[in-house]
């Protein structure tokens, strides 16, 4: 009941799924409870330092912070692989909690060096705790969950900043100021319990098998190297991490330059009057804006535009702001306020959220090493680089004696900022692609098409010939001899095969199969005369077969055999059907093949089909097509027709397009076209795609998928494929909405299996069609993981689709595959039906 109320409350501001409420609130509180104390500490840090050390000694604080950060990164990297994550985070919180108490006591002593130490410590406090927070977020959520929840979770920081800042501002003027640090310590102590609760909840939700796997992983992580250098090496070796590091660097350099422009313009326009009040209101305003942006828009923007587009928002807005400053310089304060407000609010909301999402698909080991290096060290280092660039610019730009820089100088800085932002946009575009590639790597293909696997490993024609040869041995010596000749003719009479077929007994009387190939003397004398060379034999037989007299005699013999009934007649017709396939296509006897193709016996027809495939006579095609409707001969007929290749594609297309033709024949023809697999075959199948329904449609879609799998050069008509996809989606939604609650209940109990089968078939067809117009392997991987994957691999599969499908297609396919409640899916299906079934996109 309480959970329902919490769900209802949260679902007003965040797209939250049942069961996620508590963990999301815990993370929100965790972020809030580390940020609010920091903003109290930050106010005290600035005030104490400026009071005791003065503004001129600020560079000392910056320098010491940068120096110690390298040491902290090194120590943290080593600790995080030696001790469990839970212990590390909780110990860090306790450490900083005790430190606050220590500083409260030290401040009473009024020693001059305490503010210097406090300054450096405060920076380490924030960087360590925030990095650990995001590591835990990365550990807990998959990309889909993170995209939905990150806005809400991240808003905890903005709320903490607002409240922390307000508390410091209001209490600083009262007697309670002495206790500000203790208030901060109190808030931090609560976060310890929140973190413990998060770990307890994680442990509870983790299935036994996954927990064991995680434990094994943790043990292997412990053996990994650690340290500052290792973090640097990890980033250096990964192009994706290098891009991430580059983006962090560029972001902070731009931010430093913008900060300088803003301060210069504010100072120039407003003079030195009431600056504290101005900055106070400005900071409070931007943080409040960042909070609203984070809570209400961040997740929606990321979900609507995807990571790749969202990554561009921040630099593009700053580019516009920079152009504004470049145009007006000191003439107006508004562009400066807008760009600084955008920078500050976006940096803490949208940008941070997207940046954290970029880390999620990286392997755990890489993530921890890289994150600590980038977020803790590079973050600070980049600010230093920004300061150096600024110093160099100031050295060469026109100066003013009053405010240090002229309007022209401000414009030049805008130009530099604009150039850097263009580079930043390029990096963002690259990292967007890198993100998709990293998500792809997380998904393993579960299987590949079976027909491809078989074709790669087995020579099916040879295999069938071997089995038929052995089978013919007991039927007729003539048929057996014809098979042997066929094997020799095709140069497939291997020594191993010779041994098997020369075997006199049906049983292999050996204990070990392997020894058969090794033994030189089996005692089983070969029936084939090894002294007769294969080439000579082949030549002699072909010469005999091409003799006019032979043809005349055989024509008469086969004519009689066709009329002959009984078992003897059948054997004679089988021999004739096999023999014709070994002759020249122009030989007169070959005319008899059509009669043999029409034979009642499937064994005779089988040999006739084989011979038709070998001779490839156009006259045989209609008879072969008719065999597609016979279950026993269908496979042989498909093989035979496929061997004709591209020259009969047009003829086959006529059968496929003829709605009055037998359905089994049309289905068989679609399979043959798929086996031929050239561009013409794909075009004809695509042509029929929009008209076909039911089993034929499924066969055509499967055929197109086969062509796509085997021939990447073939193209498919995008509009026709999309139209079919929308049509299939309409069918899926109609089935879903149309089925009563009762039927779905039956489905749950396994009674209504037909309904489920139908939906499964439609979904399979949709993904096969998607694979025709989007990267085939990626779509196949996504589908396979959706069908059989764990919760995380399903999430990554959807994330991959999110990154490769166009927005319109994504919005249409996602309601079918996303994790939704029954009511939500029903509503989304209804919406889709309204949009699609109106005939706008579907046929």
């Amino acid at each position: 009941m309480a959970k329902d109320r919490l769900h209802n409350l949260l679902s007003r501001v965040v797209d939250i799924k049942p069961g996620e409420e508590v963990i999301a609130v815990f993370f929100f509180l965790y972020f809030f409870l580390i940020t609010a104390p920091y903003y109290i500490i930050k106010s005290l840090r600035n005030a104490n330092y400026l009071e005791h050390q003065g503004v001129n000694r600020l560079p000392l604080a910056y320098f010491l912070t940068a120096l110690l950060m390298g040491f902290v990164v090194n120590l943290h990297s080593k600790l995080q692989v030696k001790i469990p994550r839970r212990t590390l985070i909780v110990s860090s919180l306790i450490f900083f909690f005790l430190n606050i108490g220590l500083f409260w006591w030290l401040f009473q002593l009024d020693w001059k060096w305490v503010p210097v130490v406090f300054w450096v410590w405060a920076n380490i406090f924030m960087i360590v705790l925030v990095t650990q927070f995001w590591i835990l977020v990365n550990d807990t959520f998959n990309p889909r969950e993170a995209k939905r929840l990150i806005g809400f979770i991240g808003s905890g920081a903005q709320l903490g900043a607002i409240l922390g800042g307000m508390m410091a501002g209001s209490l600083a003027k009262t007697k309670a100021s002495d206790f500000l640090l203790l208030i901060a310590a109190g808030m931090l102590s609560i976060s310890i319990f929140i973190v413990l609760s998060i770990f307890a909840k994680q442990r509870k939700a983790e299935p036994e098998a996954e927990r064991e796997a995680a434990d094994r992983k943790k043990k292997s992580e412990k053996r990994a190297k650690a340290g500052f250098r290792d973090g640097w090496e990890t980033v250096k070796q990964s192009p994706y991490l290098k891009l991430l590091a580059g983006i962090v660097m560029v972001t902070l350099v731009v931010s430093t330059l913008i900060d300088f422009q803003f301060n210069s313009i504010v100072f120039n326009v407003r003079g030195g009057k009431n600056l504290t009040s101005f900055f106070g209101y400005f900071n409070a305003g931007t943080m409040a804006f960042a909070f609203l942006l984070q809570l209400l828009l961040t997740s929606n923007i990321i979900r609507r535009y995807g990571i790749r587009l969202t990554l561009l928002f921040y630099p593009l807005i700053l580019l516009l702001g920079s152009a504004g400053i470049g145009m007006v310089a000191f003439a107006s304060i508004i562009p400066a306020i807008l760009i600084k407000a955008s920078d500050k609010s976006l940096a803490y909301s949208l940008n941070q959220s997207v940046r954290e999402l970029l880390y999620i698909p990286i392997s755990v080991e890489q993530k921890y090493k890289a994150k600590v290096f980038i977020d803790m060290f590079l973050n600070r280092f980049a600010k230093g680089v920004g300061a150096v660039i600024l110093w160099l610019l100031l050295a060469i730009l026109p100066k003013s004696s009053e405010i240090g820089i002229t309007a022209l100088g401000i414009r030049y800085i805008s130009l530099v900022v604009a150039f850097i932002i263009l580079g930043w946009i390029l990096l963002n575009l690259k990292v967007g692609r890198g993100y998709t590639d990293t998500v792809k790597e997380k998904l393993k293909p579960a299987w590949e098409r079976g027909d491809r696997l078989v074709a790669d490993q087995v020579d099916v024609d040879y295999t069938k010939l071997v089995f038929d040869t052995l089978e013919s041995k007991d039927r007729s010596s003539v048929l057996y001899a014809l098979h042997l000749f066929d094997l020799i003719r095709q140069d497939k009479m291997t020594p191993e095969l010779k041994k098997i077929i020369s075997h006199k007994s049906d049983e292999v009387r050996m204990t070990s199969l392997g020894t058969l190939f090794d033994q030189g003397e089996t005692g089983l004398g070969p029936e084939i005369d090894d002294n007769l060379s294969d080439e000579v034999l082949q030549k002699e037989i072909q010469e005999i077969m091409s003799l006019d007299s032979y043809q005349e005699v055989m024509k008469s013999y086969i004519g009689k055999a066709i009329d002959k009934s009984g078992a003897e007649g059948k054997i004679a017709r089988m021999e004739a059907a096999k023999a014709i396939g070994l002759m020249n296509p122009d030989a007169p006897v070959v005319e008899k093949l059509e009669d043999l193709l029409a034979d009642e016996s499937p064994e005779v027809s089988h040999y006739a089909l084989e011979s038709a495939a070998a001779l490839k006579r156009r006259e045989s095609v209609p008879a072969l097509v008719q065999k597609l409707s016979k279950p026993v001969l269908c496979e042989d007929a498909m093989d035979a027709l496929a061997k004709y290749g591209g020259k009969i594609v047009g003829t086959l297309a006529d059968y496929l397009g003829d709605s009055g033709e037998n359905l089994e024949i049309r289905r068989g023809v679609s399979s043959v076209l798929a086996r031929i697999g050239n561009q013409d075959a794909a075009d004809f199948l695509s042509w029929e795609l929009t008209e076909a329904e039911g089993a034929l449609a499924m066969d055509i879609i499967d055929g197109l998928d086969k062509i796509r799998t085997e021939n990447a050069a073939v193209h498919f008509p995008e509009e026709a494929v999309k139209s079919k996809i929308y049509g299939e989606i309409v069918s899926y939604c109609q089935n879903f909405v149309g089925s009563s609650t009762e039927k779905r209940e039956e489905k749950k109990q396994g009674i209504n299996q037909d309904w489920e089968k139908r939906q499964t078939h439609i979904l399979e067809s949709i993904f096969k069609l998607l694979g025709l117009i989007y990267p085939h392997e990626d779509i196949a991987k996504a589908y396979q993981n959706l069908k059989t994957g764990t919760k995380d691999s399903v999430a990554y599969a959807i994330e991959l689709l999110d990154n490769i499908l166009e927005r319109e297609m994504r919005d249409t396919v996602f309601p079918l595959v996303e994790e939704l409640s029954l009511e939500e899916r029903m509503a989304r299906c209804r919406d889709l039906l309204t949009n699609l079934a109106g005939g706008k996109r579907s046929k």
């Binding site: 299987w447 696997l453 078989v454 295999t463 069938k464």
Partner: protein, 113 residues
Amino acid sequence: MRISPRAKNDVIIFDIEGEIKRSDITDVTLHQLVKDQLESGKRKILLNFEQVEFIDSFGVGEILASYISTHNLGGKLKIVKISKKLYLIFQVTMLTKVLDIFDDEESALKSFF
């Protein structure tokens, strides 16, 4: 040829008796029986060849078609208790490269999990 299906630990075992030959075909083919099981959601198929004397090219086609259909749906099809002679021919024709063949039912069943 007679084919009788039975289930064991989520695996469907087809006990095949006789010869899988074009001439001995009954109303329903082996491939059709496998497809029926796949349609009903089964993904682990075991063909018991203990009573199979011989197969012809049609039989090979049936086994391969069954294998392809099973594999295309992410399932597994395996063979158990094949005669030494058939195994030898499977080896020569490289069928052993794609088909998992086991000596006894227990190890075949274990291999599915």
